[in-house]
């Protein structure tokens, strides 16, 4: 296994996540795609940490996990309240904040 394989996998995961955010309407799926992107970044960080033999990348990966956990808490709460008021989890339906 070379470094490149990890990086290619991370890039594929990130692309899948980004495309998912752009094209999917369901808020839960969009959310999962965001998690996918975060974790692809984590993978990259850990890969480089291992390649260079330092701990910096791993530490940052932990930070990302913590932030992602907090984000999930807040984000899922928002999605829940939107679903309760609109009976829908589509991100396109929550469009009140516009010009």
């Amino acid at each position: 296994m070379t470094l490149t394989n990890y990086l290619v996998l991370a890039a594929i995961l990130f692309t899948v996540g980004a495309v998912g955010v752009l094209v999917r309407r369901n808020a839960i799926v969009v959310f999962m795609c965001i998690e996918l992107m975060l974790n692809s970044v984590n993978l990259t960080l850990v890969t480089f940490a291992r390649a260079t033999g330092t701990l910096d990348g791993q530490v940052i990966a932990f930070f990302v996990m913590v932030v992602a956990a907090a984000e999930v808490v807040v984000g899922l709460a928002i999605i829940m309240s939107i679903y309760r008021t609109r009976r829908s989890a589509s991100v396109d339906d929550a469009n009140l904040l516009k010009y």
């Binding site: 980004a18 955010v21 752009l22 094209v23 309407r25 969009v30 991100v91 396109d92 929550a94 469009n95 009140l96 904040l97 516009k98 010009y99």
Partner: protein
């Protein structure tokens, strides 16, 4: 020459101004509570001022050094500008103070009767008191700045009193006209004061007049011409004469006090007070003389053609002040003569106006002389007092006008050379025209058959009105003789103008001048009798008249000239400025505003509310940043 500090009674001179000012304040602030006794308070304050002025004059006459300064307080003190408010009590200022308070008190008394039925009588007396205070400040101030404060004060009082019956559009318009034309002159006076300050660093009479010699000739001429512009505005002299006849829209006592006896002579005072400036600037002096001569003719010609009794008297005032300007423009030989004519004119013209007011009072406020006639028997006191004023004005031998006007005409001839003959000729011709229009006025008002409108019942005015007229008539008869022969005004004013100098050799002997003037005056009166005394006067003015008469009826088209030369171009300039402001300046500012507004509205369209489009934007931005970073690090 610095004035000596005041002691004793003269240090109370500020009371002269403070008394009428306090009267005005009480009447204006007291409101309706003072309605019942307001006029009495006003008369009391002015009379007290008059008594104080008499006592001060007597005190002043007893002093060796007849120039007394009264320091009051520091008026302006900033950097190099240091103006202290103070009064200058000298023969010239006390002469004016006596005229103002004396004639002022008489006219206050007269107004009690004249304004008896006016609901706003208290306001009238408040303004009259305000005027007297401002006028006294004008003549008593010890610096050009103090004079300027009084100058604007009388302008305000004049405006308020012309527009006293402000519900009449004619009165409101006349007041605005007077105010605006006075502004033109006031700008000149203000500029003159600015020049004094920048060049000499002081505006006090002692400082400025004592150091005229230090200034360059051009500067002195400029100061003189600017002072003259101010004087022309206030005194209704050419080219700013058109406001004075319109000012007759005010109540008649106002016309008598402000627009005949005192305020309009402020210009003469200004020039006489600034005598050293004009003596050092022959060019400015020549302009004064020319303006005086031109105004004599304008006033006299216009006076011949009007049918409104007050307007004829107003044009007569314009013409007579022209004589005073002519006199003070002649230099040292003319100052005392000009002031003497100013004093006698104050008596007889105030008397004439009060007489005209009495006639109007009896005729139900009508002023058209074509509807008067035959009033001599109905209003005997008015007729006699008015007649004496008339004789004094036209220069009937040995009455006031004869002494003082002849002195001016002699001085004009004594100027010598061609200009002396021209000026003397104009003055003599003006005297003839004066006799013509005043005789015409007398004949149309008091003689001939009655041409009264229906429902008019002429009656004599009450004693409160006739008494001041009688006093002024006595002054009209005697003042000239007293001022020229008994106690020469020239000697009294010597501390101000220097010892009176007798012309080395008269160009025309005084006796010849007297006879010539008397003959011309008689001729003018005769022509007037031939025109209106011998045959019946039509009740409407003839429409088919020659060009000179039409021109005179339109006051030689002064209004038309003002309108064409100043008003219309001024309006066009204003409109152009408004256009530039609206389209240019405002356009730029509002253009930037609306431009920003519309572009932000357009940018706001990007906020669609679709989360995914925002996400696309973020992704695009991130790619762009990453691409840029790559390009930079790789390059």
């Amino acid at each position: 020459m610095n004035p000596v500090p005041a002691t004793g009674l003269l240090s109370l001179s500020w009371l002269l101004i403070a008394l009428p000012l306090a009267g005005a304040a009480v009447l204006l602030l007291g409101g309706r509570r003072t309605d019942r006794w307001g006029h009495l308070l006003a008369i009391t304050t002015v009379t007290a001022s008059f008594v104080l002025a008499v006592l001060s004059t007597v005190t002043l006459a007893g002093l060796d050094e007849r120039s007394v300064g009264v320091d009051l307080f520091t008026f302006i003190s900033t950097g190099q500008l240091d103006v202290s408010a103070g009064l200058l009590v000298d023969p010239l200022s006390m002469t004016f103070a006596l005229l103002i308070t004396g004639v002022g008190a008489l006219i206050h008394v007269y107004s009690v009767g004249y304004m008896a039925h006016d609901p706003a009588r208290r306001r009238f007396f408040a303004y009259l008191n305000l005027f007297v205070a401002a006028m006294l400040l004008l003549v008593l101030g010890n610096s050009f700045v103090a004079l300027y404060v009084g100058w604007e004060g009388v302008g305000l009082a004049s405006y308020l009193l012309i527009a006293f019956w402000y519900t009449r559009p004619a009165a409101a318009t006349a007041a605005k006209k007077a105010f605006i034309m006075n502004r033109v002159g006031d700008v000149g006076l203000a500029l003159a004061i600015f020049i004094m300050f920048t060049q000499l660093g002081t505006t006090s009479y002692a400082g400025v007049l004592g150091s005229v010699g230090l200034l360059a000739g051009g500067t002195v001429t400029a100061i003189g011409l600017l002072l003259l512009l101010g004087a022309c505005g206030k005194s209704g002299q050419f080219p700013l004469q058109a406001w004075l006849p319109d000012a007759m829209e005010g109540p008649t006592p106002v016309s008598a006090l402000i627009h005949a006896a005192t305020m309009v002579t402020a210009g003469v005072y200004l020039i006489a007070r600034s005598a050293p400036v004009f003596d050092a600037a022959p060019a400015a002096q020549t302009v004064v003389v020319v303006i005086g001569a031109v105004t004599i003719m304008i006033g006299a010609i216009a006076g011949c053609a009007y049918d409104d009794i007050k307007k004829v008297l107003a044009w007569s005032t314009v013409s007579q002040i022209g004589y005073m300007f002519l006199a003070v423009g002649l230099g040292p030989i003319g100052y005392a003569a000009g002031i003497a004519h100013l004093l006698t004119h104050g008596f007889f013209k105030a008397g004439l106006f009060l007489g005209a007011g009495s006639v109007m009072h009896g005729m139900g406020d009508r002023t058209d002389m074509r509807r008067f006639g035959g009033l001599a028997t109905k209003m005997k006191t008015t007729f006699v007092t008015f007649g004496l004023g008339y004789l004094a004005l036209i220069g009937f031998p040995f009455l006031s006008g004869y002494w003082t006007k002849d002195a001016i005409i002699e001085a004009a001839f004594d100027r010598g050379g061609v200009s002396g003959w021209v000026l003397g000729g104009v003055a003599v011709l003006g005297a003839g025209l004066t006799a013509f229009y005043m005789t015409r006025l007398m004949l149309m008002t008091f003689f001939g058959k009655p041409r009264w409108e229906d429902g008019v019942h002429p009656h004599e005015s009450p004693a409160v009105m006739t008494l001041p007229m009688v006093v002024l008539a006595v002054g009209s008869v005697a003042a000239g003789f007293v001022l020229v022969q008994v106690a020469p005004l020239a000697d009294w004013l010597a501390p101000v103008f220097g010892e009176p100098e007798e012309a080395a050799a008269h160009v025309v002997p005084p006796l010849v001048v007297s006879v010539l003037v008397t003959v011309v005056v008689a001729a003018g009166a005769l022509v007037a009798w031939l025109a209106v005394g011998r045959r019946p006067v039509p009740t409407t003015a003839p429409a088919q008249v020659s060009f000179p008469v039409r021109a005179a009826r339109n006051a030689l088209y002064a209004d038309a000239v003002n309108e064409a030369v100043f008003m219309r171009p001024g309006m066009r300039l204003t409109r152009a400025a408004v256009l530039v402001d609206d389209r240019g300046v405002d356009g730029l500012v509002t253009g930037i505003g609306t431009g920003l507004g519309s572009s932000s509205t357009r940018l706001g369209r990007a906020q669609t509310g679709f989360v995914r489009s925002y996400a696309l934007g973020m992704l695009g931005g991130a790619v762009l940043v990453a691409g840029a970073l790559l390009a930079v690090t790789a390059g």
